[in-house]
């Protein structure tokens, strides 16, 4: 997907192509505004239903995490299956700091969230340096290994509370505003992460990243500092995930190693990314929304853990084999070919054009 936002000399305003392009940009902007509006107004409609609100909250947490994950894995093509490390780090950071610094319960704990992001980001540096030394498929395995290291550490180190985990300061908010407040905090994170993803996509940095994805050797030959770029993307993708972990931890009120460092989280990120469409902006959001809602519904319906896992795994398999490119790119392609068949401006000016902003992918 292209990142040519801004002026495209190939479509001067006033020409037919220019009109079409500005029409599609308008459409995208409209979608963004509508989506944002829905996001903001949603709780007002659903506030009475606590079940729906918590599902929405978890969906938002995943939307932010997958979007962040996509900044690295989607744009660079390196599959990272260990981001739960950052999620868990964020969770433990907020728990430890809240307890150790005796932060009073309430909004003030939210100020700790940037710390979670920082911890995750800083952690990403040495992890990235080691992991990125390898070829792509060994990289995946290394990220998995890192994940297990951290799960073990969390289980065994004393200051992390061991298998019992940690408790966060008790939050005495009113029941009906509890979910709503967390919802908005998560929403803010999602918006910020999407903006980050969008900025990366359009930036020089993003262009280099995507060049690496397509042909790393050649990118290097053309002057791209591949190690630096990959590492930077890795770190950037870790930060929002860390913050998400912090919010999540606070929402639940207590964490323990198995939940904060959950291998299914890693798989979920990849699955949501694949369903929605890796490398796009709207893809991760869509994937997270769809899958997390499904996930929550499944846990509510199926009491047994096992059945849930079976369905999950089967779903994953199905997506991988049948929908390898994801919903958004497939839809985008349909739209593109539909447009190409319509009479009007030449099709050659169309493909891959677009701002790639959240909403409809390039026409």
């Amino acid at each position: 997907m292209s990142a040519t936002a801004g002026t495209d000399p190939a479509a001067a305003p006033g020409t037919e192509q220019g009109t079409v392009r500005s029409r599609s940009r308008l459409a995208v902007r409209l979608v963004v505004v509508v989506a944002l509006a829905i996001g903001i107004l949603f709780p007002l409609a659903e506030n009475s239903d606590q079940g729906t609100m918590s599902i929405a909250f978890f969906a938002l947490i995943f939307m932010a995490s997958v979007t962040a994950w996509n900044i690295f894995s989607g744009y660079s093509g390196y599959l990272a299956l260990g981001h739960a490390v950052f999620f868990g780090t964020g969770a433990y950071t907020i728990a430890l700091t809240a307890n150790d610094w005796h932060v009073p319960a309430g909004w003030s704990i939210m100020w700790l969230l940037p710390l979670c992001g920082l911890a995750a980001g800083v952690l990403a540096i040495p992890l990235g340096l080691v992991a990125l030394r390898t070829r792509r498929h060994v990289f995946v395995v290394v990220t998995i290994a890192f994940f297990f290291i951290f799960q073990t550490l969390a289980t065994n180190l004393s200051f992390t509370g061991g298998t019992g985990g940690l408790q966060l300061p008790f939050l005495d908010w009113n029941y009906d505003v509890y979910n709503e407040r967390f919802y908005y905090v998560a929403l803010v994170l999602v918006v910020l992460t999407v903006i980050l993803s969008w900025v990366v996509r359009r930036s020089r940095f993003g262009l280099q990243l995507m060049a690496i994805r397509d042909d790393e050797d050649r990118a290097r030959g053309m002057g791209v500092r591949t190690t630096r770029v990959k590492l930077a993307a890795f770190v950037l993708s870790a930060i929002p995930v860390g913050i998400a972990g912090g919010i999540w931890a606070y929402f639940l009120g207590s964490i323990y190693p198995q939940s904060a460092f959950d291998p299914l989280f890693d798989i979920a990120l990849a699955l949501m990314g694949f369903i929605g469409g890796i490398g796009t902006i709207s893809g991760p959001l869509l994937g997270a929304l769809v899958l997390e809602s499904l996930q929550q519904k499944l846990t509510q319906t199926f009491s047994t853990d096992g059945l849930y896992l079976i369905i999950y795994g089967a779903l994953f398999l199905a997506v991988l084999l049948l929908l390898p490119r994801g919903i958004v790119p497939s839809v985008a392609e349909r739209v593109r070919s539909w447009r190409a068949r319509r009479p009007g401006p030449s099709a050659s000016a169309e493909p891959a054009a677009g701002t790639g902003v959240a909403g409809v992918a390039p026409q």
Partner: protein, 294 residues
Amino acid sequence: MSFDSLIQAILDGVLTGGVYALMAAGLSLIFGVMDIINIAQGAMVILGAYLSYALSVHLGIDLFLGLLITVPVMFVLGMFLEWGFIRRLREGDRTSMSILITYAFAIIIEGVLTVLFGTDYDQLSASYLNSSVHILNFYLPDIYLFGFALAVVLLGGLYVMFFRTKFGRGLRASLQNRTAADLVGINVNRTRMLATGIGVGVTAAGGMVYGATSAFNPDSGYDLISRLLAIVILGGMGSIGGAMASAVLLLIAADIVATAWEPTWSILVFYAAIILVLSFRPIGLFGARAVRSQ
């Protein structure tokens, strides 16, 4: 840490290393012939353990005899997975996609096991396995000895198959030069299917021994696969001999750490190994594969 406990740790490491070597060899074989990384290997070992459990507890079949059933079952499962799913992967990003697909397998297997057996820990047992052999100052639990013997027998069997049978030659040929194997008329698809079958079949044996030496539940697959991956990365992906050697090395190191410090830290030996190896010699100790383009 006393010298005696050091020797004990080494002995334990060698004995358990044998079994891990068997399972890691399966993983390496699959990678070598097919270029795919089977993340589900750990889950399959646990599946093998549960199969042995079911046979032993519900049907009263002896653990070792039960292998006559579990190994073929797992073998067929492996072939089915290759035929049904792995073969469908596009050539392009085969290895990365295989990681995801086999991860999905692992989740499904775990789910099935949870449904069938619940999340409580189980362990395999046999009356004749509860004692140990006492040599000098050292205790060698019977189960370790039996397990080691089993691993040796199976690895020996693999060796024979590999080097003395026609099929084994075809397999080796596919490993060494795939285009030439095509040229010579080796049925590549069939070879891959059988190789996967073997790679998974050994997990039945590994599962039985693992299940007899440690408590397990459906979740235990993760712990196992991370060890196996560490072993294979250390040994160099695709090198079966490397996998075996590093299995024994890592197990010895882990046992020493467990004895000298605490058992819970022993798993970190594996991970430390990965990090160290990757930092200094990314292709592994015995890895000989040329660096492929990404």
